[in-house]
């Protein structure tokens, strides 16, 4: 993919892997805009990126759930770079305890809104802008959890499935406008979201290793990637289990 502008917006940059993604772009000379809900903390990350990579890095407040603010946020991004950004990576995500989400609709709704509605709201704004200028990339962190609903995690899984379908359609729409859309499906990553969960170490990626694979894929112009790559095969097997069997299983 030809990247005309080496600038990128990281939405949800306080995520463990979001920080690592920003770092990967910065070491390739990109200017970075970090966006999230805790500006003081974002400033620490921005200083870190500036010291390590000698690139410019700014921060803006961004709340995925405040849909009405997303238009204004886009304007701020353009203003900050003085130009249309080269791309955006949507990292914001929320995974509540499944049982809590079952019992409490507010929690279920927050799961759907953070992972799906917020992405739709924000990325449509970027899509319109990129379509108009005929270049740019849009990447978002979906999840292997969206490949098949499981009883242990299906509300989050439904939000991610929605996001995956959304990105697939967006890619189809923007193809002719020369805008790249990348669906990133991580398996397990060792981040704040999964801290304390008993994840199998050999299947769990560090945020740094995951981000490296993600940014490589983005710059290569990939469509859908699994991180680490072997999750593609794991999920293929899981998707192929017939439903009459799957419904009896505990996975």
């Amino acid at each position: 993919m030809l990247i005309s502008r080496k600038t990128v917006v990281i939405a949800g940059a306080l995520s463990s892997v979001g920080r690592a993604i920003a770092d990967q772009f910065a070491r390739r000379g990109f200017s970075i805009l970090l966006a999230g809900r805790d500006v003081d903390e974002l400033k620490c990350l921005a200083d870190d990126i500036k010291v390590r990579h000698e690139v410019s890095c700014s921060v803006r407040f961004f709340d995925a759930l405040d849909f009405a603010s997303h238009g204004g946020f886009l304007d701020q991004c353009v203003e900050s770079f003085g130009n249309t950004p080269g791309g955006v990576v949507y990292c914001a995500g929320y995974m509540a305890d499944q049982e809590l989400a079952q019992m409490d609709f507010a929690t279920a709704k927050r799961t759907l809104d953070t992972n799906l509605s917020g992405a739709v709201s924000l990325l449509e704004k970027f899509a319109a802008l990129f379509e108009e200028c005929g270049s740019g990339f849009i990447a978002a962190l979906s999840s292997v959890a969206g490949d098949r609903g499981r009883k242990s995690n299906y509300i989050y899984g439904a939000a991610k499935a929605g996001l995956t379908a959304y990105l697939s359609g967006l890619r189809n729409r923007l193809y002719s406008a020369n805008v790249q859309v990348i669906t990133i499906k991580p398996g397990f990553m060792d981040t704040a979201m999964t801290w304390g969960m008993p994840l199998p170490a050999p299947l769990t990626a560090s945020p740094e290793a995951a981000a490296k694979a993600m940014v490589k894929a983005i710059l290569r112009g990939a469509n859908v990637i699994y991180v680490p790559f072997f999750w593609r095969w794991i999920m293929m097997i899981i998707r192929y289990i017939p439903e009459w069997q799957f419904k009896k299983m505990n996975i």
């Binding site: 306080l14 463990s16 805790d38 003081d40 903390e41 620490c44 990350l45 200083d47 870190d48 010291v51 390590r52 704040a192 801290w195 304390g196 969960m197």
Partner: protein, 453 residues
């Protein structure tokens, strides 16, 4: 406060006697702050990258505070070479960032996978101790959170008593939040090394005493299995950072670049028999034979300083039972102690490869700082039955000759032995009582050695 902790089985790098611990890992200052403000009466110990060999950063009785994600660099001054960074920044990250810009670590241990705070808390030394002292010498100031005083800035000139308790204070004075450290200007990523064979102990010690001062770095690999006339035979490896004019043509253009081999990994625990006496003996003999006297060999810094970092998880070579490290320092007058220790090692055949000998320069005012003028010997000892009695004998040799052992490597000593080796321990306990009156900071090692009141 409801804390999101993970249960982990933790030990030191030697994987000796792991314990189940609850670990809290903040990723933001705000998370750390609310943890510290509300920590209540649960004891905790900060932990870096877990490269200490023993139970220094293990606390099964309360919490472990994993500081590795608070690793943000804050500022770098290109003119003075002073880096201001959070305590969780690793030495590997500093090298990766600054070697290409012409700056190196002022002092580095034999692995780059340690944090800045961990390096301060053990007051680590490197191959340049004879001339430059420890890591602390290059710490301009640090920010420390203490239970009694909150955040304090300390340095050799400001709150110096807190500074010298924290340096080498193995996490017991508080949480090191950030530090300003002086980096060293270098012309290349290469080191110019002289290799020299020394046929026995007297030869190597003589050589170190007379000519170490001509080199920035000096260290010897010592064959602990060699006996009698060969006792203490060693390869001395001394050098300094290469200047651009020292480099071969092909490197001159890009003096900070070298090709890195991807790290190997040890994926499984080796069965215990792989490292048996025969393989160790063969390795040691080969190493001695292969290394002839050579002058001005140009090698990249990774292979000179971090030969083991090329193999991830190399500690698994020792199998599931793990191993311990033992590092001893003898004053110059205690030279006979070094001889007795080597004799005992070669007789009992317990030590393995990787024994390292070095001459230390002057010590610093750190209350529990390890280096003292004299000799230091570091060895790996695989875990086999009888290991406790064996290290007790090593401890006794040390005590008899006015020596001491290194807390970063200790797993087995007892409080009386420790107190006899470190006269600063009483002053240290007093500082801890002032900074942490409730005894919140605590570790398995601190309890074993009665380091806290």
């Amino acid at each position: 406060m409801l804390l999101n902790t993970a249960s982990k089985t933790l030990s030191g790098w030697g994987r000796y006697h792991p314990k189940d611990c609850a670990v809290f890992r903040p990723e933001r200052n705000s998370e750390l702050k609310s943890f510290l403000e509300a920590s209540g009466d649960q004891s905790f110990i900060p932990r870096g990258l877990g490269r200490s060999y023993g139970d220094t950063a293990v606390n099964e009785a309360g919490l472990v505070l994993d500081m590795c994600r608070l690793n943000r660099m804050r500022h770098f001054d290109e003119t003075t070479g002073i880096l201001d960074c959070e305590g969780g920044v690793s030495l590997a990250e500093i090298l990766e960032t600054f070697v290409p810009r012409g700056w190196f670590l002022p002092v580095t241990p034999g692995t780059k996978f340690v944090t800045v705070a961990g390096a301060i808390a053990n007051d680590v030394h490197g191959k340049n101790h004879h001339g430059d002292g420890t890591f602390a010498r290059f710490v301009h100031s640090l920010e420390l959170w203490t239970p009694a005083l909150g955040v304090v800035t300390c340095s050799p000139s400001e709150n110096s008593e807190i500074f010298w308790a924290t340096v080498g204070g193995i996490g017991l004075t508080g949480v090191i939040l950030s530090a300003k450290i002086q980096l060293r200007a270098v012309e290349s990523a290469y080191v110019k090394v002289d290799y020299q064979r020394c046929p026995h102990l007297d030869a190597v010690l003589e050589e170190m005493e007379s000519r170490d001062r001509d080199y920035l770095y000096s260290v010897a690999w010592i064959d602990c299995l060699a006996k009698r006339a060969h006792l203490g035979r060693s390869i001395l490896m001394r050098g300094a950072h290469a200047r651009v004019r020292d480099l071969p043509r092909r490197h001159e253009e890009k003096p900070y670049k070298f090709s890195r081999r991807p790290p190997l990994a040890v994926p499984i625990d080796f069965p215990g028999f792989v490292l048996n006496n025969l393989s160790i003996k063969t390795f040691n003999t080969l190493f001695y034979r292969i290394n002839r006297n050579r002058q001005e060999v140009i090698t990249n810094y990774e292979s000179y300083f971090y030969p083991l970092d090329g193999i991830h998880d190399w500690n698994r070579m020792y199998g599931r039972r793990g191993f311990i490290q033992y590092q001893a320092a003898f004053p110059f007058e205690g030279r006979m102690g070094l001889v007795s220790m080597l004799e005992m090692l070669s007789e009992q055949k317990r030590a393995s490869f990787l024994a390292v000998l070095k001459c230390f320069g002057p010590s610093n005012p750190g209350l529990l700082s390890y280096p003292m003028p004299g000799y230091t010997l570091a060895l790996d000892i695989p875990c086999k039955p009888g290991i406790e009695e064996f290290t007790r004998e090593l401890d006794r040799i040390l005590l008899d000759h006015g020596g001491r052992l290194y807390l970063a490597k200790d797993s087995l000593t007892d409080s009386a032995t420790f107190a006899a080796m470190y006269p600063g321990v009483e002053a240290f306990r007093e500082q801890c009582a002032l900074l942490d009156p409730q005894g919140l900071l605590s570790s398995a090692q601190a309890r074993r050695l009665h380091l806290i009141k």
